[in-house]
């Protein structure tokens, strides 16, 4: 091969490998996006049925029930509620009346089966997603009172 051909094949080879890698990365990326929904959005049926997503808001007061290591609780954005079931150990800062974000999927009965309840690292810290859910619900309510 002449040096010119050599360089050419090197460049072509490089581009093919890069294109393959990029295609592969984007494909993996597409199938692993986890979207976030507020309890109101879930109640309105906006959440996907057979896909993992996140829901966030506040743990409703008095809603936590335990059976062995299975925990059931209700996540609320003050407007709508969504029941959640989780089996496993909860993060240290999981508490009634505090913000929470859970990741999982909806079952047929509308129960959110969580595979993960996200840990937080500071007692005063509100997960942005949970805060967002509460703000949205508050804004929606305010909107209703303004427009009779």
């Amino acid at each position: 091969m002449t040096p010119r051909q050599k360089r050419f094949s090197l460049i072509i080879g490089g581009i093919v490998v890069l294109a393959l890698a990029a295609g592969f990365v984007l494909n993996a990326f597409q199938s692993n996006l986890v979207f976030f929904f507020t309890p109101t959005q879930v109640a309105q049926g906006e959440a996907p049925k057979n896909k993992v997503f996140r829901v966030g808001g506040m743990v409703k007061e008095g809603s936590v029930k335990r059976d062995q290591t299975v925990i059931e609780f209700v996540v609320t954005d003050t407007a709508r509620d969504i029941p959640v079931r989780y089996s496993g150990l909860l993060p240290d800062l999981f508490k009634e009346g505090k913000g929470v974000v859970a990741q999982g999927r909806l079952d047929e009965q509308g129960l959110f089966v969580a595979s993960e309840v996200l840990a937080k690292h500071d007692e005063n810290y509100m997960p942005p997603e949970a805060q967002h859910a509460l703000d949205k619900a508050t804004a929606a309510k305010a909107g209703q009172t303004v427009k009779p």
Partner: protein, 644 residues
């Protein structure tokens, strides 16, 4: 008084940094030697001033001066002394001050250890570092002043976040920052080379030891962070693909590509433009990491600030750095000469593959890390990218990368013959394959993933050993960089085997336990024999007492704790870990489930090979240090410094 002194020193430091950033550089343009000569003393002066500021803040912490707002927020009279010192960088303002202190330390080191470099080069490098420092000092003084007074003074401080009250966390940030900031030296050398128009082997040789040291610190810092997460967060994970971890991994990946690419530039004079781009990218990613971690855009333990003006400042600074350095690159790159030619199969081409794979991996991590932020910023909804994405993308990219590590060290420069490489490595390859196929039978379940991981680890380990043996038999002095490289490669092998082992054979049990109950992960069983209240200096804790048996024989006692710190309602999990050569046993208390006798949720984990992760990191660190301290660099610098 002391805080005002610190504040004043910081303002002076900013002025000196500006002088250091502008005058020597202007001196190189106007060929004014006196201005160029200002670089070294101003770097030293700037370091002195920042050190004074840092000492002032530290003394405010040790004196429990709660009239300083930053101290009041991050310390407490009950906080043990070592943590009061660590609390200096336990928050946003102080950690930035640490950033600038370390930048000044790097600058003054360059000033000290560059006696044999041409003055113009030193002037340019220190100017670039001075400009970076000016930016950060301006940032601290305008948005994040750690010396701000709180009037009236708080009677008591709020305490350091309990998660950060830990020996690992005392040294993790300084080490990580040494790595981040060290990349600025590699960047400064690259920019200086672009400015001078002399992008040659000499530049690569000067830059190499600095880059390797920065990489070494970064490796150590990331390792410490991972170790901390493993034992302190209480759920036994050591890598979460958390955006903050990604922020430190990206400069590491590009930095790894950079130290390899610099070698090609030094030895063969090729890849010059590529190496410069990698240096710019490594530093830009360090800045991006600082932005991600410190701006509060992320949901994380590291996100201190949520003041948007801070995020915007860093973002603008980042845009300036990237924009101006890429402009300079575009202007100068056409003048860059090509180096020696390289064959389709040669050490150069294998090292180029290494670079490309590492850059693709970085791009993949970058995509997964910032995409959610961009979508959120554009108000297109909230989403996250889960660990499965990173695992799915990262593993296949690492397989070829790890595989070519050994051929890359065996192949000849310029032109290598496949038959030579195969002949040299076939025994090692077959041995690694045989062991990888057989060992899983001894370790537990056999699976393709285990075989692949073990093969790659053994391939690197055995290939490295073979080359060391070959070299030792030959006559001639062996340089420290030879040992450094192979030690670091061997560390990677240990790390790969460790990751394979822990991912494949870990056993995790989350159970509900009462006193006297027992849980078994063969061959170990764990029996809860006691629960006591214990008192620490600034917390109360419940301490579990576990008897651990192996094959029915008593082995030891383990004491996990659940702590409640006085200053916050936040409970903390202190896991009990027993490390062996091949495995960790890991017990942590979840939460009290009430009942009589008391019931607790408990995590009991069997984690094989975890100590190998830390051993691998330490070997890489040792290798990096050895390589950076090679006498060759000092000699080479002397040679290069002689006037042509």
């Amino acid at each position: 008084m002391i805080p005002e002194l610190g504040h004043f020193a910081l303002i002076l430091a900013a002025v000196v940094a500006l002088i250091q950033g502008v005058l020597p550089l202007a001196g190189t343009v106007r060929e004014n030697l006196a201005w160029q000569a200002l670089a070294r003393p101003s770097a030293a002066l700037q370091f002195g001033l920042v050190a004074v500021a840092f000492a002032c803040l530290t003394s405010s912490f040790l004196a429990n001066d709660f009239s300083v707002s930053y101290v009041a927020q991050h310390s407490n009279t009950l906080l043990p002394k070592p943590y009061q010192v660590a609390a200096v960088w336990g928050g946003h303002e102080g950690s930035l001050l640490l950033w600038v202190l370390l930048l000044a330390l790097w600058s003054v080191s360059v000033a000290l250890f560059s006696r044999s470099l041409p003055l113009a080069m030193v002037a340019r490098v220190l100017s670039v570092l001075g400009l970076i420092s000016t930016g950060f000092l301006a940032f601290i003084l305008t948005t994040s002043n750690p010396f701000e007074r709180l009037l009236p003074a708080a009677p008591e401080g709020r305490d350091l976040n309990p998660l950060l009250q830990d020996p690992g966390l005392v040294i993790h940030p300084p080490m990580l920052y040494m790595g981040y900031v060290g990349m600025s030296v590699a960047f400064a050398f690259a920019i200086s080379a672009l400015l001078s128009g002399r992008l040659d082997a000499a530049w690569a040789r000067w830059s190499r030891p600095w880059t390797v040291i920065a990489w070494t610190f970064l490796t150590f810092g990331i390792g410490l962070g991972s170790w901390w997460a493993y034992y302190e967060l209480g759920w036994g994970g050591w890598w979460f693909w958390d955006p903050v971890e990604n922020a430190s991994l990206m400069p590491w990946l590009v930095g790894t590509a950079l130290i390899h690419s610099l070698m090609v530039t030094e030895k063969r004079g090729s890849f010059k433009a590529w190496t410069v781009l990698l240096a710019i990218a490594a530093f830009s990613l360090s800045l991006l990491g600082t932005f991600l971690v410190r701006s509060g855009v992320l949901t994380s333990v590291h996100a201190f600030a949520s003041d948007p003006s801070r995020g915007i400042f860093i973002l603008i600074f980042l845009a300036l750095v990237v924009g101006s350095s890429l402009t300079l690159f575009a202007w100068r790159a056409p003048q860059v000469t090509l180096g020696g030619s390289m064959g389709l199969l040669s050490r150069e081409s294998l090292l180029l593959s290494n670079s490309v794979i590492l850059v693709v991996a970085t791009a993949a991590v970058l995509l997964g890390t910032i995409y959610p932020l961009i979508i959120d910023a554009l108000n297109l909804g909230k989403l996250s990218v889960g660990p499965p994405y990173f695992n799915l993308v990262f593993a296949p990219l690492m397989v070829p990368l790890l595989f070519i590590m050994i051929p890359g060290t065996v192949a000849h420069w310029r032109e290598a013959r496949l038959s030579d490489i195969v002949r040299e490595l076939r025994v090692v390859g077959l041995l690694a394959l045989a062991l990888a196929l057989l060992l899983p039978f001894a370790m537990g379940a056999w699976s393709l993933g285990v075989v692949l991981g073990l093969f790659l680890g053994l391939w690197i380990a055995l290939g490295t050993l073979q080359q060391v043996l070959f070299r030792v038999r030959k006559p001639g002095r062996i340089g420290a960089s030879f040992w450094g490289m192979h030690l670091a490669h061997f560390g990677m092998a240990v790390l790969v085997i460790g990751i394979t082992g822990v991912k494949s054979y870990e056993v995790e049990r989350d159970v509900r336990m009462g006193l006297g109950e027992q849980v078994t992960i063969a061959p170990y069983s764990f029996k809860l024999v006691g629960l006591q209240e214990v008192k620490g200096p600034n917390y109360n804790a419940v301490r579990g007492e576990f008897d651990v048996f192996k094959d029915g024989q008593f082995l030891e006692k383990m004491y996990p704790e659940k702590r409640r710190y006085f200053s916050s309602a936040m409970p903390m999990t202190e896991a009990a870990i027993d490390s062996g050569f091949m495995r960790d046993l890991y017990v942590s208390l979840g939460e009290s489930l009430g009942g009589t006798p008391a019931q607790w949720s408990v995590r009991v984990y069997y984690k094989p090979f975890v100590p190998w992760l830390w051993a691998g990191v330490l070997l890489m660190v040792a290798g990096g240090l050895l390589a950076a301290l090679d006498r060759r660099y000092r000699r080479a610098v002397n040679k290069a410094a002689q006037p042509a």
